[in-house]
């Protein structure tokens, strides 16, 4: 590893208790611990978070974002997974 380019980390912040960690951006750091410190300084200067995850970008496996990607095709024709697919009488409560 050259000192010129530290590895890239992706940063996830939990905004407050009860919420998921959400991706907020990325940064470079020499190691994991420095990545957490940098993430605090770069992404939570105004109490934007109660918890930070950092993960090296090269450790992430991604699907292709292309919406024609066949990966998402199986969900495309399964309308019966949504509650609106079912017609029930209007006057039955709590359905």
């Amino acid at each position: 590893m050259s000192a010129g380019e530290w590895p890239l980390y992706e940063v996830f912040v939990r905004g407050k208790r009860g919420l998921n960690h959400v991706h907020v951006g990325s940064l470079h750091a020499a190691d994991d611990e420095m990545a957490v410190h940098h993430a605090r300084d770069v992404y939570t200067r105004r109490n934007e978070g109660v918890s930070i995850w950092v993960v090296r970008a090269d450790a992430i496996t991604a699907s292709s974002p292309d919406e024609k990607d066949p990966l998402f095709a199986p969900a495309g024709d399964k309308v019966y997974r949504h509650p609106t697919f079912y017609s029930v009488p209007d006057d039955v409560p709590h359905l």
């Binding site: 590893m1 000192a3 010129g4 380019e5 890239l8 907020v24 951006g25 990325s26 190691d31 420095m34």
Partner: protein, 336 residues
């Protein structure tokens, strides 16, 4: 809209299906994301714009930073420190966004230091009095907000998300500047004069921040067609003037433009033209502080070399790699 990839040569144009998909996403005002196919010119335009924006945040720390040690009170010093630190953060958000387009941070830093990429012309003006700290917050950050708010809806996802984050922080910058000037305006005669003198110096350079007039901005049409830019330079300049005039009245300062007046018919202020030749000179590197700003950035980069080396060596040792694998940092242009 024609977004044909001319760089690919006449007979190897982009895959029509990919281009159609790209244009469909833009047509429904959706966002382009990093791993999507995009025309090379779209990518190159974004790299230039986002990098220039990132460099501006980083270089922009210098004019105000020079007043950190001379702030008149602990309160003002803490505020100024927080603001300058925010600008560093803005630079980092934008560098990250730019890197998603396939340029490395190292390369971006190099392009700035070698003068191959620009930063905003405004930061090549000196901060001669403490009132300049207030004027920069009010006018320069104010102009930046005008520029940046529409960019929250830019077509490239990571750029737009960086802008949203930045815009949230900018309003503190503008308000602290305005408050500083208000405080000085209620001070001694000398302090009041200092505010007016500062506004006189920064007014025209602030108008120049929006770039040349539309007629001389040949890339604007393509950038707007791609949804990278959302407004023309002149539209944003007008918006800035309209927004600033009542603020100047509240401050009791005069904006140094004899042609500035409300135009009932247009529903906007008429105003004079900045000295475009001056802007051209500053952009070409001949502004009052161009050399100083780049020399300072180079020095900061060089002075940080040992920190980067040490952190890398430490990380390598902890992960069990031999620390001998650490290579010396290249410091282009360094004469030491």
């Amino acid at each position: 809209m024609t977004a044909v990839d001319t760089d690919a040569g006449p007979d190897t144009g982009p895959d029509p299906a990919l281009l159609a998909q790209f244009e469909r996403v833009l047509a429904r005002s959706d966002r382009i994301e990093p791993r999507d196919w995009m025309p090379e010119r779209y990518r190159a335009t974004l790299v230039r714009q986002v990098a220039q924006h990132a460099h501006s945040e980083i270089i922009g720390m210098q004019p105000e930073g020079s007043w950190l040690t001379r702030a008149p009170s602990l309160r003002r010093k803490a505020i100024l420190l927080a603001k300058v630190q925010d600008e560093a953060g803005h630079g980092l958000y934008l560098y990250s966004a730019c890197e998603t387009l396939g340029v490395s941070r190292e390369e971006l830093t190099l392009r700035l230091l070698e003068g191959r990429q620009k930063y905003s012309s405004i930061f090549n003006y000196p901060t001669l009095s403490y009132a300049d700290v207030g004027t920069i917050g009010w006018l320069v950050d104010g102009a930046a907000i005008c520029n940046q708010v529409p960019l929250c809806r830019t077509s490239y996802g990571p750029y737009g998300r960086a802008m949203v984050r930045i815009c949230k922080e900018e309003s503190f910058h503008q308000r602290q500047g305005f408050e500083l000037l208000m405080t000085m305006r209620s001070g001694t005669e000398a302090q009041r004069a200092m505010v007016q003198e500062s506004v006189d110096r920064f007014w025209w350079p602030s108008l120049m921040m929006f770039g040349p007039p539309d007629a001389e901005s040949p890339n604007t049409a393509q950038s707007m067609a791609w949804g990278i830019k959302r407004n023309t330079n002149d539209e944003l300049r007008q918006r800035f003037v309209d927004m600033t005039v009542p603020q100047a009245q509240a401050l009791g300062v005069t904006l140094p433009d004899p042609d500035l007046r409300w135009n009932e018919e247009r529903g906007h202020h008429d105003f004079g033209q900045p000295d475009w030749e001056e802007l051209a000179q500053v952009v070409r590197g001949n502004g009052p502080c161009n050399a100083q700003r780049l020399a300072h950035r180079q020095r900061a980069h060089d002075d940080g070399a040992w920190v980067r080396e040490a952190a890398t060596a430490f990380a390598a040792r902890r992960s069990g790699e031999p620390s001998l694998s650490v290579e010396p940092v290249e410091t282009p242009g360094a004469d030491r």
